[in-house]
């Protein structure tokens, strides 16, 4: 179709709108800093986890010109370790979110579109997962399936989808009754086509805003699991740093430089995603729109 530009002013890009709201801007800046540090940092300051000291003098040393943020209980550089740890924390957060959002969206779409037995069953399952005390469940699952990077992702992904499913479902229920859906069905379109081509694009903004919030939750869950010693022990994440720091008695020995960087990192990343996510949600969620 040869369409020329429409004279009507289109709303600016979504992230531009987020940027214009102070809290959203703070979130974007925070995320930008963390992302750049985690991507570029380990390249400039490589970290070798096997670089373990042989002398007790290097253990838990305070910050110095040699080690900017001191050393850990194995004599490794905490600054470099923190940069590498950011990668795993973010990666787990993103992958777990991918599972969670995919699952939540599909279940939400189906539960909203099909009334009757299918919808009710799916919603009861969702409610079940929603009221489960999450932490004990995650601990048990992690204990059963073992401690590895992929298990952590699976466990977080499989337990965090219900809120997405609920939000998507409530929107689909109202969309399903709209006349354009009836019109498309009158053409003979299959349910799959109606859901994928006509309903999904309408709930996509909602899913989008939710994704950013779920990332924050997933990163926090990963840190929680790892702190409790249920993370992947051979990979460095902020959560495992906190765990080993705690086990090594960093808090008791006053080694703040070991616990503060990963702790602060988690706080800043989660804050960044939450600020950006809430701003997005405000812009995209029809229930929160103020006009």
């Amino acid at each position: 179709m040869n369409a020329t530009a429409v004279p009507a002013s289109r709303p600016p890009n979504l992230w531009v709108q987020v940027w214009e709201i102070p809290l959203g801007r703070a979130g974007i800046i925070l995320l930008g800093i963390v992302l750049v540090l985690s991507l570029v940092g380990p390249v400039v300051f490589p970290f070798n986890p096997k670089d373990i000291t042989s002398t007790a003098a290097d253990i838990l040393q305070p910050p110095s010109s040699m080690h900017w943020l001191g050393t850990d209980e194995l004599g490794r550089d905490v600054f470099r370790e923190t940069l590498v740890g950011a990668r795993l924390s973010l990666l787990v957060g993103l992958l777990a979110t991918a599972i969670s959002i995919t699952l939540g969206s599909i279940i939400g779409l189906l539960a909203g579109y099909y009334r009757g037995a299918v919808g009710i069953t799916l919603m009861r399952v969702t409610d079940f997962f929603l009221v489960l005390p999450l932490l004990p469940l995650i601990i048990i699952l992690a204990a059963i399936f073992g401690q590895s990077f992929s298990i952590t992702i699976m466990v977080i992904g499989l337990t965090s989808w219900p809120s997405t499913a609920r939000i998507v479902r409530s929107q689909v229920i109202s969309l399903r009754e709209r006349q354009f859906i009836e019109r498309i069905r009158s053409l003979g379109a299959t349910d799959l086509r109606v859901i994928a081509v006509h309903i999904l694009p309408n709930v996509l903004p909602l899913i989008y805003a939710n994704t950013v919030l779920v990332i924050a939750g997933s990163i926090l869950s990963e840190a929680t699991l790892a702190f409790l010693g249920l993370g992947d022990p051979v990979r460095v994440s902020w959560g495992t740093m906190l765990h080993f720091g705690f086990v090594a008695g960093a808090a008791g020995r006053g080694a703040w430089w070991y616990l503060l960087p990963p702790g602060l990192g988690i706080v800043l990343v989660v804050l960044g995603f939450t600020l950006a996510g809430h701003t997005l949600d405000q812009l995209l969620n029809p229930r929160l729109r103020e006009f």
Binding site: M1, A3, A8, Q179, S186, P201, N202
Partner: protein, 323 residues
């Protein structure tokens, strides 16, 4: 002129918790190719149910009790869901009320108009289909360049034009317009009505035009059918029915609209409410509200009889001299 649509003794019930609603009860009418039939009546009289039963778009709790719908000589009631889908939009298409709801807000109007085309003509080349969309848009008075615009970028009248373009997409023989101008202001109403009339003449379309607004029907239809409580009470040419309404309900309906040509008088409403269609009244369904009701009206149901040339009405008191 050949008969395109022949509805015979149509009766439709809706199953509800409090009982079966007899929404349409024994309605018959014919529509010739290229003609426009208006169906008028107050809310709940069965006009939409009658019209939507033709492309079988009724809600799932509707049941066909009896009757036939012959379209081009074929009984649509015998068709399976798959067969009726081949007819919908292709032979019989619809223009709904409230075009905002009938358009998907996140898809361009071009992408939506093209849907029935590619659905019904899978072999069509993408370029040809696109070309037809642009022609359709021009035809309903929308610049072709706006095919890539989204529904929210159009005004209400423009959206209704989009819906009309969509209804024309597969070159149907019959268009069912369910309150097509009800949500629009009078200026836009006039524009849309003119557009529909022009297109109908150019393309020799048959059209069923549902409205509660008699003035809209008077302006755009050849024939009018008046429905009350699921029954057809009067049918005839626009000129006849408006100049010599035979049924008391038709008369009351016409009196309840202001007439800008005649002498000024107060508008007469019709007292009371339409009857409950779960337990329809005995005899004539209008007798409780009728100012000419006599004993027989509550006992036996009047049948449709000829009252003038091509005009029929169902009332016991037809033939008596009017007071």
């Amino acid at each position: 002129m050949s008969t395109l649509l022949d509805i015979q003794d149509l009766a439709i019930n809706f199953k509800t918790r409090s009982g079966d609603v007899h929404a349409v009860d024994g309605v018959s009418f014919q529509l010739e190719a290229g003609k426009v039939l208006g169906i008028a009546g107050e809310s709940g009289c069965g006009k939409t149910t009658t019209a939507l039963s033709i492309p079988r778009l009724l809600p799932s709790n509707a049941r066909l009790v009896r009757g036939h719908i012959l379209f081009d000589g074929v009984d649509l009631m015998q068709f399976s869901e798959g067969e009726i889908e081949k007819i919908r939009w292709k032979q019989i298409s619809m223009v709904f009320q409230g075009a905002m709801n009938a358009l998907n807000p996140v898809k361009t109007i071009g992408a939506q108009i093209i849907e029935p085309i590619v659905w019904h003509e899978p072999a069509i080349a993408r370029g040809d289909a696109n070309q037809r969309v642009l022609e359709l848009l021009e035809r309903v008075g929308i610049p072709a360049a706006r095919a890539r615009s989204y529904p929210h970028e159009f005004s209400g009248g423009m959206r209704q034009r989009v819906m009309i373009a969509m209804a024309l997409a597969c070159r149907p023989k019959l268009i069912i317009s369910d309150e097509p101008v009800t949500a629009l202001d009078v200026m836009i109403q006039a524009q849309i009505l003119n557009l529909l009339k022009d297109l109908q003449k150019q393309m020799n379309l048959a059209m069923i035009f549902i409205s509660h607004d008699l003035s809209v029907i008077a302006e755009s239809c050849d024939e009018i059918a008046i429905m009350y409580a699921g029954k057809l009470v009067e049918r005839g040419s626009i000129r006849k029915v408006f100049s010599q309404p035979a049924h008391p309900y038709t008369q009351a309906l016409i009196r309840s609209f202001p007439n800008i040509y005649g002498k000024q008088e107060l508008i007469h409403g019709i007292p009371g409410y339409p009857p409950n269609l779960i337990h329809p009244p005995t005899g004539c369904r209008f007798h409780e509200r009728c100012d000419r009701c006599i004993d027989i009206c509550a006992q036996s149901e009047p049948v449709l009889r000829e009252v003038g040339e091509g005009q029929i009405a169902a009332c016991h008191r037809i033939g008596e001299t009017l007071p």
